[in-house]
């Protein structure tokens, strides 16, 4: 009964989506207030029904209802409860349902926080969201119904893929989807502005917080995914340039460009048509990512169930949404005026360079991801593009971008001067060069790539500090602390996000430069030394978990003869899928990780093949991402967005009274 209620709720949500995607748009075009007024209640209703459907699916998982095909395929009665809940979005069908849930949640958020916007704008934004929701709901109902029954019911389920049984994986998809789907709001705002023909600084100001929030979630989602890969794949790597990772990274790159270009549009009215195009592209890439993952065009680890029918459906939807919006762009954008002029050296030009570099980076990732497919379609042969391509192409594009990141925020709008900038930044430049040259010696050995990476990171840090100092000095009266506190949160958000990049670079550079690994066969009592730590293998015992059995090794870690801790790496075999999994034991710290994973038992004397890694500063990679996220959230809590909320209804009221 419960699954049927969920199915029925989805159909109702589709009907509400049809209303939401048509009436408000017609109303906005013809100025019919009653039609436009449908947008908000339809959004609320749609969210309610999608949430009911999602709840029903979750309930089916939690109550082990193996008469539901999806549950039978992705759960098991022995699966711990938290993973049963996570299994709701562990399958293709469930993850599409999660996608729609997020989309309708974003609509409700727009409906709630848009009271200060003109009615037509709200109606158009929600209308576009309605069209998107119709596409995805149809996709679910037609090609991937999560509530399909299985008759006769399975006695037990086939279990959730053991790779997904990890806390990181419980949170990763929702975060990632919040980001993916969040870009739909910026997209809807862009389409609404193109439809209404009003693309101005106000449009940019309305889009900005939404874009930033979506970007924060996407950052968090990607970071969680990478952290999961590090812990769970037992390999010590944190990024694989897998097509699915690329699919999430491309919208991130374009979204980052969009955040910066929106700033220029809001402050100076520059790059308007470019900004609109970026807003369309960011979401289009999210859709393209979905297509790549769901259609099976590319082979990947993440390829869940793949089905050509689904591929055709998503591709059709892609053509309608992306093709339609780009056609609208080609029609309307030429009428957008040019913004204020600016000199070749100015904050605008650095932001433009930032945009170009980020878009080029995204294009190179897209190229690497799709190249095998394109060559194959042209019958030019078959190739595979692996990490070597991405590593070679990506770093040279990022390096100038990071360098500009130090300079950009110190530049004036409209026109800046190079000698003046040099004068202001000469200390930052000197300090970063000196530290970059010396620090690698302190770390043990001098390597050019490490020095270069450190230079970029310290450069960003030092230039940001120069910026803060100048701001304090130029601020009117008050103690230094009071002056700092008066700076808007938007500014602090930028500072934190930029420092996050610096921290991230430190992590990547030092891990790549100084990681150590040892692969050894260890008998009971054997010791191995790595990075000054001594590891003593105490043997492995067999263990039984709720849905797996396996072996747990014990490793005594000591430094200079003093006991530090015990680590317990595990090797698990999951009962249902018979899949061996390595649970690495990781001692995480701010200066680096000690990472121990068990290989295979060797012989029958209790010896094991063991891998030990020293990963210096690896947590800075994710720490940097967390800083970027905090920066983003800080920026949207800026006073001016809240002031704008309060001011605009008053203006509207005043206008109404005057008329």
């Amino acid at each position: 009964m419960i699954p049927e209620i969920g199915h029925f709720a989805l159909i109702l949500a589709l009907l509400l989506g049809l209303m939401k995607g048509t009436l408000p748009l017609i109303g906005a075009a013809r100025r019919i207030p009653t039609y436009m007024a449908v947008a908000r209640p339809a959004s609320h209703g749609q969210f309610l029904f999608v949430a009911v459907a999602f709840g029903c699916l979750m309930w089916s998982f939690m109550s082990n209802d193996f008469s539901v095909l999806n549950v039978a395929e992705h759960s098991n009665s022995q699966l711990p409860l938290r993973y049963k809940i996570a299994a709701t979005w562990g399958s293709h069908e469930g993850s599409m349902l999660l996608w729609v849930l997020m989309l309708s949640a974003w609509s409700v958020a727009v409906a709630a926080f848009s009271r200060h916007l003109p009615e037509e704008m709200v109606a158009r934004v929600l209308g576009v969201q309605g069209i998107l929701s119709v596409g995805f709901l149809l996709f679910i109902l037609v090609t991937s119904n999560p509530f399909e029954r299985l008759f006769p019911p399975a006695p037990d389920g086939r279990d959730l893929n053991p790779l997904l049984q990890d806390p990181g994986m419980v949170l990763h998809p929702p975060m990632l989807y919040m980001g993916y789907v969040g870009f739909s709001v910026a997209f809807s705002f862009a389409i609404a502005a193109l439809l209404g023909g009003k693309l101005d600084a106000t449009w940019a100001r309305w889009s900005r917080p939404w874009t930033t929030v979506a970007w924060c979630f996407l950052t968090g989602g990607i970071a969680l995914g990478s952290w999961w890969a590090y812990k769970e794949l037992g390999w010590g790597g944190w990024w694989f340039w897998d097509p699915v990772e690329n699919a999430s990274f491309m919208p991130w790159l374009v979204g980052t460009a969009l955040i910066h270009s929106l700033a220029a549009t809001e402050k100076r009215g520059s790059f308007k048509s470019w900004t609109v195009l970026l807003a369309i592209c960011a979401f289009s890439l999210s859709l393209l990512g979905t297509f790549l993952v769901r259609s099976g065009v590319l082979t990947s680890v993440h390829a869940f169930a793949t089905d050509p029918k689904r591929g055709v459906f998503i591709l059709g939807f892609l053509v309608v949404v992306i093709g339609g919006s780009l056609a609208l762009y080609a029609w309307r954008a030429p009428k957008i005026g040019l913004g204020g002029r600016f000199a070749p050296v100015s904050r605008e030009s650095t932001l433009l360079a930032n945009n170009v570099l980020l878009v080029v980076a995204c294009a190179s990732v897209l190229l690497g991801t799709l190249y095998p497919l394109v060559l194959d379609s042209l019958d030019l042969g078959k190739i595979s593009v692996g990490p070597p391509y991405f590593d070679t192409v990506f770093a040279p594009i990022m390096a100038p971008l990071v360098f500009l990141m130090g300079v950009g925020p110190l530049m004036r709008w409209k026109e800046a001067s190079v000698p003046d900038l040099f004068l202001r930044l000469r200390w930052a430049l000197g300090v970063s060069l000196a530290v970059a040259l010396i620090l690698p010696f302190v770390m043990g050995s001098w390597k050019p790539l490490v020095a270069f990476g450190l230079f970029l990171a310290i450069w960003v840090f030092a230039a940001t500090m120069v910026g803060i100092r100048e701001r304090v000095r130029n601020a009117p009266k008050g103690t230094k602390l009071a002056r700092l506190a008066r700076e808007p949160r938007g500014y602090w958000g930028m500072v934190l996000a930029h420092l996050g990049i610096a921290v991230f670079i430190v992590g990547v550079t030092l891990v790549n430069g100084y990681q150590n690994e040892r692969d050894v066969r260890m008998e009971i009592g054997d010791t191995v030394t790595l990075n000054g730590y001594t590891f003593r293998f105490e043997g492995a015992k067999s263990i039984t978990g709720p849905n797996y059995r396996g072996a747990r090794g014990t490793m005594d870690v000591s430094k200079d003869g003093r006991f530090v801790e015990k680590l317990y790496p595990e090797k698990r075999i999951y009962n249902v899928q018979q899949m061996p999994m390595t649970e690495a034991a990781i001692d995480s710290g701010i200066l680096g990780d000690l990472y121990v994973s068990l290989g295979e038992p060797v012989g029958d004397q209790g010896a094991w093949a063991v891998r030990l890694y020293g990963k210096p500063f690896i947590n800075w990679i994710w720490g940097g991402c967390v800083l970027m996220m905090i920066g983003g959230f800080l920026a949207i809590s800026d006073r001016r967005y809240r002031l704008a909320v309060r001011r605009e209804p008053e203006l509207g009221a005043a206008r109404g009274a005057a008329a």
Binding site: V297, P334, P372
Partner: protein, 178 residues
């Protein structure tokens, strides 16, 4: 007017991309027939992973039916198929030779140590030249080679238990019966 043409560019670029994606849907990457099927396996002689002083050539297994499995430590999908290979090796179902494709030998050895080594031996193809000769599209791939050194089947993507039971094992048995 000229300016308006520029604004059509994104749409044009997208439509080209969509056309490729549509063709891509028809070309299931796991089912591309290899032009090499029915032809002699391309010749190679490469150092072995665990003993670089020795080389291995496809001729060395003449007279036997065997599998050539292309793998790499950076290939995440290889982990998925690995337990299947380990199980086949345990049952001594068929000799499996690994072609370690575009990989660092240290990483490759460590990977085998961690996940188990199902291979009779692995051949190092660091620059991917052997892979090019065999038309390797992506890792993992598995070739079934008969006693006369002719390629009989190619599995693109992970070797699943289903693919083994339904396709590869019947083919091996048929080849052995002769």
């Amino acid at each position: 007017m000229k300016r308006a043409v520029w604004f059509l560019l994104p749409l044009a670029a997208f439509l080209v991309l969509a056309a490729f994606l549509f063709r891509g849907l028809g070309l299931n990457p796991r089912e591309v027939p290899s032009p090499l099927i029915g032809k002699p396996a391309p010749a190679f002689a490469r150092p072995q992973l665990h003993d670089a002083a020795k080389t291995f050539s496809q001729k060395d297994l003449a007279g036997q039916v065997w599998l050539l499995n292309v793998w790499a430590s950076w290939c995440v999908a290889c982990r998925e198929e690995h337990p299947v290979l380990v199980e086949l090796a345990r049952q001594k179902a068929v000799p499996i030779v690994g072609l370690n494709y575009k990989d660092a030998p240290e990483d490759a050895k460590a990977w085998l140590k961690q996940f188990g080594d199902p291979y009779m031996l692995s051949v190092v193809d660091r620059d991917g030249r052997v892979g090019i000769d065999y038309g390797v599209y992506g890792v993992p791939e598995t070739f079934l080679i008969d006693a006369n050194g002719v390629i009989r089947h190619k599995q693109i993507g992970p070797l699943t238990p289903a693919a083994w039971e339904k396709t590869i094992r019947p083919k091996i048995e048929a080849l052995r019966r002769g």
